[in-house]
């Protein structure tokens, strides 16, 4: 089975797209088994909740932040399509994990991050910070960010199976670009394009991946981990050897050779 992890820049940080079904040789990265009716059936309710949160925190109810104009939609579509074409760049096929960064990142990726991603993210962050300071809004903004991170990210982030899907990154980051300025609107549109790409191409996967799937399945009495392992040899778990699930995650400091960790 081919395994692909691609990382690519956003305005603020890396946004990661991961697929177990993608092929590095394909021109447009996507999950081939995903159908729109599956999204509608299994994920539409969660997408609706995402929209409500994004709409509220992103202040899209205010008059100046309408989304139904061509420029906003063009930027969204540009961001969305950009994400799917990234597999053409082989040196981007890595994830932002301690293990990958320490053990497998090529030098091109480091140059790309240092020369493009971090500067763009920093400029955007500085522009937002200056605007918040001038509007005497810095404290409110920081509290808002802290609360949303505490509610939407903190409970899961320490789990080894956690993966910061790019749709989730777009959701979390984009909702805070909620100022009535050109750079803030552009940031929000770009991030929402990431969200749309993630949903349309990969589906709204849980950020805890197999850990979440196992939790739900066992709660419902549907299946067990053992059956999954026998069946599909699905490399969905965060720390997994080719034959068995490891008891503990690998130590990223020593780059173990026999373990697939992502």
């Amino acid at each position: 089975m081919e395994f692909c992890i691609s990382s690519h820049p956003s305005f603020f940080h890396f946004m990661i797209s991961t697929s177990r079904h993608s092929n590095l040789n394909q021109k447009w990265e996507h999950r081939q088994s995903l159908a729109l009716q599956d999204i509608w059936l299994y994920e539409s309710n969660q997408i609706m909740l995402d929209l409500i949160v994004f709409f509220s925190v992103g202040r899209l109810y205010s008059q100046q932040r309408s989304v139904d104009h061509v420029l906003w939609m063009l930027l969204v579509m540009l961001s969305s399509m950009y994400t799917s074409i990234l597999p053409k760049f082989q040196w981007l096929q890595h994830s932002v994990t301690l293990y990958e960064m320490h053990c497998t990142w090529p030098w091109q990726l480091w140059v790309f991050v240092a020369g493009f991603v971090l500067p763009v993210c920093s400029i955007t962050l500085v522009l937002h910070s200056i605007h918040a300071y001038k509007q005497n809004d810095l404290t409110r903004k920081l509290v808002e960010i802290a609360l949303t991170l505490a509610m939407l990210l903190a409970p899961q982030v320490m789990n080894p199976n956690f993966e910061f899907h790019h749709y989730y990154a777009g959701l979390i980051v984009g909702m805070h670009a909620n100022y009535d300025t050109w750079f803030s609107r552009a940031t929000m549109a770009w991030c929402w394009g990431q969200y749309i790409n993630g949903i349309a191409v990969w589906g709204r996967d849980p950020i805890l991946k197999c850990a979440y799937a196992q939790y739900i399945s066992e709660r419902q009495g549907c299946t067990t981990l053992t059956e999954w392992m026998k069946d599909g040899q699905d490399l969905c778990w965060a720390y997994q050897d080719s034959s068995a699930v490891m008891a503990v995650p690998p130590d990223w400091r020593h780059c173990p050779k026999t373990t697939r960790y992502y």
Partner: protein, 163 residues
């Protein structure tokens, strides 16, 4: 029962606050909850609904009785606008007929102000008017439509281009 002079003294400084209470905004709420001028003595000033009406000293002689009655009614409405801020509807007009005005004396005044503020906050519509509510819903629907179209378009384009 307060004397007529006490009622009149109370009415004049209140007028700007009372008029401000006609609108339903946070700004006006803040202005309308400023302390009420202190009455002379410890008596409560009660403005009755019917019957006893405070007389207006200082009204120029020569005015007709009808004009005087209109002024009295207008004054009563303004007082009600002050004391019934919490019960105002979306347009800021009073909807009930509570008429007691308490003097600006210590805990009593504080309790009353807290009561009015609490009542106002509990009953204030989330959206100031139906048009705002409808506009927000329409904005959300636009956002929903844009997102759904984006998902469908992206999915179809990527699947098509990947073939």
């Amino acid at each position: 029962m307060a004397s007529a002079s006490s009622a009149e003294e109370l009415s004049e400084p209140l007028l700007p606050q009372i008029e401000a209470a006609g609108n339903d905004s946070a700004d006006n709420l803040e202005r309308s909850t400023t302390p009420v001028p202190q009455l002379q003595g410890t008596e409560e000033a009660v403005v009755p609904d019917d019957g006893d009406r405070p007389s207006l000293e200082g009204v120029e002689e020569g005015r007709g009785q009808q004009q005087q009655q209109q002024q009295q009614q207008q004054q009563r409405r303004r007082w009600r606008g002050r004391v019934e801020l919490g019960a105002s509807n979306g347009a800021g007009e009073p909807t009930t007929t509570t008429t007691t005005i308490r003097p600006n004396t210590g805990p009593c005044w504080l309790v009353c102000e807290l009561f009015y503020l609490t009542h106002y906050l509990l009953h204030r519509p989330i959206f100031s008017d139906p048009e705002t509510s409808l506009r927000t819903q329409i904005r959300f629907l636009k956002f929903l439509v844009v997102t759904v179209l984006g998902i469908v378009t992206t999915h179809m384009m990527v699947v098509t281009l990947a073939r």
